[in-house]
Amino acid sequence: MSQAMLDVSGVKTYYGNIVALRGVDVTVNQGEIVTLIGANGAGKSTLMMTIFGKPQAREGSITYMGEDITRMPTHKIARLSIAQSPEGRRIFPRMTVFENLQMGAAITDGTHFQSDLEKVFAFFPRLKERMHQRGGTLSGGEQQMLAIARALMSRPKLLLLDEPSLGLAPLIVKQIFESLKTLNEQDGLTVFLVEQNAYHALKLAHRGYVMVNGLITMTGGGRELLAKEEVRAAYLEGGRH
């Protein structure tokens, strides 16, 4: 068993007096794709943001490669080779695709910029076509690709993705998940994925967690969870798949 890359243990997060996470334990090992699924308001995004230190966990601890990052400011966490693609993409709409990617490389020393650029363009050729277009004029799928590409520009070891499938056509979702798989297999990129699209996420992931009301209720292998009756009932029914 490889060593835990990201270890979240007993984390409790509050918004004011409202409890959002009631003691969450999640581990992500090197080279894994781990997904966290759950309904609206379960606390998935909160966990993601807590890992990134905004809001900070009130109790419990988060360690990354053995280093305690529970109380670290967000921008310092980002410098530890953790990249995050926040919910809602959050690209810079009035800057060009190229400038967006440059911002992604802001914390690197820039020596690998050209090769990194070519690498992400190889993954997302659409971005190359749109290099000088403003971020805000891209389609939703392209914006999501840009958000992931921008995160990759910081040469991360761990990529945190918050709902990359949000508002995208199924075909595009498939495409994006494919590229995540390739990144994981080729470059050994570790991915922690928060998703509502449980079917695709679990199919992709090595392991998965199910979150309900700020607590992890189930955990197991991706396919294993997918086969479970409770998971199917709660997150997959509706006849879409």
Binding site: F52, R90, F98, E99
Partner: protein, 444 residues
């Protein structure tokens, strides 16, 4: 039956269709009706104080005039400007400003710079014009300085005049207490204003938008009120007088034997100093421009722009928002301070009167009307606004009216300022511009 080839429809301009006219009439009639409702009571009836009490005077002829003007005006507009294909008010703007393609923009810029460089020696240029040019350039510089904060970093600052005041008072106080000269004080004014920018920056780190605006507004007032009330140090409402004038590499602009005129063998003229001051502010403005253009290409400038777009994304990319914000405030403030020091040395006298909120509003108006983040737009806006203010000086009473109308018109025509497109700061092969209106502000 032989088919005759149909004439191309575009060969003959079709006469205005009848329904167009009818529509125009209907529209004008409706507007007139609205005008009647609006003006009827307001203009038609007037209360007069009479010995017997209030009486009601009737002025229906005024209402008739107003309604008539609205009707005719609307009709004429409907039949002329608004009827044209794609007929928008946009068409009234000069084409050069509309497009602001690379070449047009550069051409305007070059012409403006050429005029600015030669202004004091142009035929017919008198002291008045040079003085006005100096004033305009001061505002151009202030506009560019504020542009860093508002246009690039996206932090709405309503108290920018505070830094202008800090710069002016820094020089005035250093000169009167320590006997320092203008050139020594210039960098000091810059540094002091930077510090004040940071002092303002700290409490507002977590604020955005309206809240930030309120705090900066208050900050501007605090500086002014402190200057006003700390009489023993700043002279209070009496201000500080006899601020030393700048020297030309140690040469004073005086009538004496060691003065500027005598040294160069020229006949003494009071114009020398005026022209010299003009060139000082021109150089200062250029420095502001060059620095902000260069800064935009540096990582810190890019970080400002990214922060304007999305703070959360910035954080997640490892940028420190604290540092980014503080540098924006500090550098923007620094240029305000430089302009302030210049203002003090030009006027020779400063008092808190000169640093009221209306100055902040004016500078902000220049930045917003010019197009946030655009250097050329800000310069044009400063020329138009400050020059316009002077031009309409004879119509003292109506000046603000014209000013207000101009603002409304520009916001109708060019909601994002005169020069609204933003060129990418960096580009690989070719430079492309995308109109800012194609992108919704602040949203993906």
């Amino acid at each position: 039956m032989t088919a005759t080839p149909a004439k191309p429809a575009s060969a003959v301009a079709p006469p205005a269709p009848a329904h167009d006219l009818a529509h125009a009439f209907k529209d004008a009639l409706f507007s007139a009706l609205l005008a009647l409702g609006l003006f009827g009571v307001i203009m038609g009836l007037k209360t007069e104080q009479e010995p017997t009490g209030l009486i009601l005077e009737q002025h229906w002829e005024r209402v008739l005039w107003a309604v008539g003007i609205v009707f005719v005006g609307r009709l004429v507009l409907n039949l002329t400007i608004w009827r044209r294909p794609g007929g928008k008010l946009d068409d009234l703007m000069p084409k050069g400003l509309q497009k602001y393609g690379g070449s047009t923009g550069t051409a305007i810029g070059v012409i403006l710079i050429a005029v600015a460089l030669t202004l004091p020696f142009l035929p017919g240029a008198e002291r008045y014009h040079v003085d006005l040019g100096t004033l305009v350039l001061t505002y151009v510089m202030l506009g560019w300085g504020l542009n860093i904060v508002v246009g690039l970093a996206g932090l709405l600052d309503l108290g920018y005049v505070a830094f202008y005041a800090v710069g002016a008072y820094s020089y005035a106080l250093l000169a009167s207490y320590f006997d320092l000269g203008f050139w020594a004080c210039l960098p000091l004014a810059f540094i002091l204003a930077c510090f004040w920018g940071i002092i303002l920056g700290f409490p507002v780190l977590r604020l955005r938008g309206d809240y930030l605006a309120i705090v900066t507004l208050a900050f501007g007032e605090i500086i002014r009120v402190v200057l006003l009330n700390w009489s023993e140090f700043t002279g209070g409402p009496n201000g500080i007088g006899q601020i030393p004038r700048p020297s030309f590499f140690g040469l004073e602009f005086s009538r004496g034997d060691d003065g500027f005129a005598a040294y160069f063998g020229l006949e003494f003229s009071s114009m020398h100093r005026i022209i010299f001051l003009y060139y000082v502010i021109l150089v200062l403005a250029f420095v502001t421009h060059l620095v902000s253009v260069r800064l935009r290409k540096l990582p810190i400038g890019r970080a400002w722009e990214a922060m304007r777009e999305d703070e959360i994304a910035c954080r997640s990319l490892g940028l420190s928002i604290v540092r980014t914000k503080l540098t924006a405030f500090a550098i923007g403030a620094g240029f305000g301070g430089l302009a302030g020091a210049f203002f003090a040395t030009r006027q020779g006298f400063i008092s808190p009167e000169s640093f009221t909120f209306i100055e902040s509003a004016l500078i902000l108006a220049i930045v917003v009307l010019g197009g946030m983040g655009s250097q050329l737009g800000v310069a044009i806006a400063a020329v138009v606004m400050i020059g316009g203010f002077e031009y309409f000086r004879e119509f003292e009473q109506y000046r603000m009216l014209v000013f207000g109308m101009m603002m409304v018109l520009i916001m109708v025509w060019r909601p994002r300022g005169l020069v609204s497109s933003r060129a990418p700061s960096v580009y690989l092969k070719e430079r492309k511009k995308v109109g800012a209106d194609m992108v919704s502000q602040g949203h993906g």
